[in-house]
Assembly symmetry: C2
Homo-oligomer: 209 residues x 2
């Protein structure tokens, strides 16, 4: 297998953490987004959609989405389970992973990509150059605030996002909560359940950057 | 189980098609988005995030995301498989489902929600009232065009989106291709592979609206 990573970006970090939690060692190639290497002709041959992470499987299947990489690795290397074991657990992991991605990760990226001068014309990942839309910055901040509230509500009644066990959903939410530093947003001081959850994940070896 | 549906919206239609492909009969309650019933106090008790579809499982787990509903039903009712069987197949289904959702469904919704006067302040689903951003209309159209190109490229080399077997990914893409009529976008005449795929799915009983 070959894993295309980028040390500075949150999406590949999600896959990197998942691989580390599985205890796997996979040949890794760094793609520097700072140097626009994801748009280079060489990398576009690997992934024409110009995104990282990418996992090339042993049978040369090209997997370009975090959920695909996690699904593949979970099926091939079931221990420790990170996608749930019972139907209810599997569904809860899928649900909270999707919520963390769409309600957390996407708005954080929206604020960053539409405000940072270095990301001019890179308002979305992928091969299309898209202009920044300043209105998305204020809207994204509202959504990020709502996500932190949602996280606190959930983690006040559940030790992990999807239930009693650490899972992919925690990886996704942790990476985006951590990445929110780029838009100067941290866990509110009063959100004690989220802070305890965040600090706990920070002690896992997989969270080392 | 109880399934909260909405006859006019694409997201619940995805779950409805999945349930029909599994041959399941589930008690269904209609939530009229036209009447803003998803924002009613009664429905917010079911799903505070104010979205449909919702599936309440037999053990009262509340599943609010399409991927969670599909994951649950696949685990409980494995036949016919709609999420793949081998690790590679499972990964391909997860990948193409995510691509159809983020590259297809989200831009179609973006165009509609930011242009339709009836969706003023409803620029995104969920409990937050968010103003329309006109710039997202042109951007969304570019992204929808790119999605149709991507679909044609994929379906020119693969009978179904995720490979040799009809799957959740086809349901997701079909529903959003069909829904693109609301933004006056149809499959380009020259995209013959996509048209054949679309017409074929249209003959399945699950595609009846």
């Amino acid at each position: 297998m070959i894993f295309y990573d980028c040390a500075t970006a949150p999406s590949p970090r999600r896959a990197r953490m998942f691989i580390a939690e599985k205890g796997l060692e996979i040949e890794t190639r760094e793609v520097s987004i700072a140097k626009s290497e994801q748009l280079s002709p060489e990398f576009l041959k690997v992934n024409p959609r110009a995104t990282v992470p990418v996992l090339i499987t042993d049978d040369d299947t090209v997997l370009t989405e975090n959920i695909a990489i996690a699904t593949y690795l979970e099926a091939r290397f079931p221990e420790p389970p990170l996608l749930g074991e019972t139907p209810e657990e599997k569904a809860q992991v899928a649900m909270w992973n999707a919520i963390a991605e769409t309600q957390g990760g996407m708005p954080v990226a929206e604020v960053l990509r539409n405000s940072n001068p270095a990301m001019k014309n890179r308002a979305l990942p992928g091969p299309l150059d898209l202009e920044q839309i300043p209105e998305l910055v204020a809207r994204g901040k509202l959504r990020v605030d709502a996500f932190f509230t949602l996280l606190e509500e959930r983690l006040s009644i559940s030790p992990w996002l999807a239930g009693d066990t650490f899972s992919l959903a925690d990886i996704t939410a942790y990476v985006f909560v951590d990445f929110a530093r780029v838009i100067k947003t941290r866990i509110p001081e009063t959100n004690t359940a989220t802070k305890a959850w965040y600090d706990s994940i920070g002690t896992r070896p997989s969270a080392a950057r």
